[in-house]
Symmetry: D2
Subunit: 304 residues, 4 copies
């Protein structure tokens, strides 16, 4: 498969179409980004790399990082995790409180904000030095020892984070936050502040295409069963209430972020990352969605 040619062809095709999305504007760190940025990167499980456009430029990966916090918590806690958070798609917006009220504080899945906050609470209980230990884990998985939280983004997120503060207080009112609110929400805001490039993203998430193992060291980050399960959750819950649409049009497990990034995984084949800041009305990268749909059509590679 000539991935490089396909990627470049689609990249040019999509650049010619007007981008009808709009950039997330709730914090300056997102609204200040050049909205025309567009990068694509693909890494195969054989460690071959293909990319184009702004694929080496750092951007705020936002919710994509929730896959990493979940991986660490799942690895440490195992199936017990699922007493605290579900695995069902939410059927409503990413920051809805309605579902929490009906389900008495158990978030529908670990990728909506409520669920990611509960995962942070679990890590807060499990880790010695949570903020540092989580960062260390991400550095190891990504092979990027210099990777760090962005204090500016974390502070901006917090300053606009009334909805997330509402979520964590609401969940705690049901007893599903076990630590004090402050360190947990601080961990959450820092998690969302990480910046990576498309090339770094595929490198970081490639273990999910490789049965949980680092393709270069062979080291297991998750076991095979855990890996399949995280992929399944990305498939059904990775795109807020557009998860079905993504499964339908793209057919790969993946996770998007409000910064315009999307990571998708083809088990046993590759990890692909796309970045374009303008979002469709569901909050997922407009061009990113277009690219991945056409890419899987073109390559006839989807898990279905």
């Amino acid at each position: 498969m000539n991935y490089q040619r396909i990627i470049e062809d689609l990249y040019r095709t999509i650049l010619r179409e007007p981008d009808t999305g709009s950039v997330a504007a709730y914090i300056p760190e997102l609204s200040a980004v050049d909205p025309d940025k567009f990068g694509i990167y693909l890494t195969t499980v054989e460690n071959e790399n293909f990319g184009t456009g702004d694929c080496h430029e750092l951007f705020s990966i936002q919710s994509i990082a929730k896959v990493l916090s979940l991986s660490l918590a799942y690895n440490m806690l195992g199936g017990e995790l699922w007493k605290r958070v579900g695995v069902e798609p939410s059927g409503s917006a990413f920051n809805s409180l309605v579902q929490l009220e009906y389900d008495a504080g158990i978030p529908r899945n670990p990728f909506i904000n409520a669920g990611a906050i509960v995962i942070c609470d679990i890590l807060q209980s499990l880790l010695q030095d949570p903020k540092n230990d989580l960062l260390q884990f991400i550095r190891e998985v990504s092979g990027l020892p210099g990777l760090d939280y962005s204090p500016e983004i974390a502070a901006s997120e917090r300053s606009q984070g009334y909805r997330n503060m509402a979520l964590i207080h609401f969940i705690k009112s049901f007893g599903n936050i076990q630590n004090d609110i402050e360190p947990v929400i601080d961990l959450y805001f820092h998690l969302c502040s990480i910046r990576m490039s498309c090339a770094q993203l595929t490198r970081t998430f490639l273990f999910l295409a490789n049965n949980g193992r680092d393709t270069r060291t062979g080291q297991a980050i998750l076991n095979m069963s855990q890996t399949k399960r995280i992929n399944a959750i990305m498939q059904t819950c990775g795109f807020y209430d557009e998860a079905g649409e993504f499964a339908y049009t793209v057919g790969l497990p993946g996770k998007s972020g409000v910064g315009g990034g999307i990571v998708a995984v083809h088990p046993n084949k590759y990890c692909i990352a796309v970045w374009s800041p303008r979002l469709n009305r569901k909050g997922n990268s407009q061009r990113g969605m277009w690219f991945l749909e056409q890419f899987t059509t073109e390559t006839q590679l989807s898990i279905f």
Copy 2:
């Protein structure tokens, strides 16, 4: 892979565990079934067959048939279909009216009752002799010329079908039913009345594992893209509000019915059907779910 041995081993293991589910009792045709029935059948895309237990006994496939009506409507109407029904998981019970009210009569997906009824309305508009033509299509796909609707089950469904009558009137109040109510709901109740065995089910649904082509005649029932998309919808929406759980534990696209049947598809590999009448509290076959979870664990074959 020694499918026969794995199937038989798991069959025996599961038979030893007490079945904590309960049989659907809303119509006599379902409540009268021996609750201890348990059958499994697997057919590979190379037309190899493996099975055990009550795998050749007929049972009411109920909602599993919705995949067939969707296949026919999608084949005839193409992407226009998705203006009338969504592809997102519902996040609530299979017969909920709440979502319809918020979404102004557009069902979340074609597998909840509301969505399947809209598909019947589409077929009612597209087909010359809808009830007969749909049956003919199912006979062809299944290679079972003697297959027929069960008038008894259809009549029983209708006699208890107040919720479905509420759904169709409600959808029509939003303008998303275009024909008279009577023939559409009659088509729907007949669709749900079909009976098959596990062996017949795998034979019928094998095309979904084979890129849309009949494995014996090579004839295309759906094109490759359509097939992938139906698989994607089964993955995200095939198990009511347990779709995420099924993706998480089993990792295959599939569809369940209230009669205790489950069909699942491993693209490019096989189709598998399980039948055991007792349902878990989400309305899916208890033993069927257990079997498929252990089967994909044992074979290490899931799409993730």
Copy 3:
């Protein structure tokens, strides 16, 4: 109190203001009405009468009639009635199915469509010849022996009644409709088809201002306790999800209809009826609401 002068002054004042509402258009019998019609009538418990404008012209009283069916059912069944329908405001639209789903088929109150349908089911069980007996009751209460159902309006309502058909099937699916659907919904559509003038309305509903007794014959239609309770329900539930607004601005128990009529009661003082076909966005008569607000301000007469 010079009611006649106050009524006429306000009538002229309001006629000068542009009417921002819009006429209900879902059936021809409503949409064909001259939207500029405006009538007011007031009858005191001493049988004094005051009126102006189109106060003697017949119009479709629609949901206002639900107070009469409730009165008859409550009189016959007593407190048992409240096992089948609640007395709480609905907090959502008059024909919402959402609440029914959460409350398992028990309508929140007898004035939303769902509740009025349950009341019709109760009358269907209690009366010998329900449609005729209900009409007879209304004739007696109103002192209008020639009053009749409008077959045209009833037929029109039915032809557009998908939402109501959805409601009755939905309620029956929960077991809270005990008769066959057809006669019950037929009774409901006929109930909504009655036509009266403002002058006839005040005459009919005056017993609610008079502790349940006919002001001319002294005969008890309801006892005092029942009367107070129906007034209380009109106060909290008589205006769909604008009940609080009506209590807040007008301060009298009342009931509105989609034909543009409003009846309100000042216990021990008077009954007042207003008719103006254009509705505000909550479905209540725009000019009717304005008039009643200013009337109770002007007269300083509210129950609060």
Copy 4:
């Protein structure tokens, strides 16, 4: 009317019936109260007083105080207030977040927690020294210069106040809290911490039965129109989702608190207060509801 005899008779009758409610236990200050306390007090607009039982014992009036903060805010801001909070019954629990999500941060009414918090935000903007000025207002209205906040109750409320913290953050995320969260929620928790006896309550709330004027000084606390409107809101929204039930069985505007107190007003006649700590499952005093129902039946005095 021999109020004293009726009150004493009903008091004895109700004491003989087992109290099936249960005391609010979420803070020690409420759970430590003797659950058998039962007091009743009535003050007429002619300043006659009647009472029995524990009518002079202080208890935590909790949400009853929300009528006072509303009165002050309404008096200062006038009709502008209703852009920030509605006047419709909520149709759901007193601390639900669901409605807020649908209505974009505008609470349904000023008596659910969300609404009372918005009122505190309004006072925070309007008053120089909000906590002190509000207290001063309540002291004046009640004629109790020694009345004070209970720092213990306020601190307890805060320590258990995750749901309220969720509410205020959620409302602020919609822009309907204009001040910093801390002083507003602090004002709210202090407001809820006030303690009064039944006798003090009737004295304090008597102005609502007297067209807004203090019965002893003749001074206007609210004007007549404002008074009627607050009574109307108490009528439709004063008892959480039991408001319709209270209107139906009691027929007076009123407000309850989780401490077991209820205040009700008969315009132009009297104010009555009841206290009994055990609550029914809707969160209103069990014996208080029983007493008021029987009292208005006995006296045949309701506003309907």
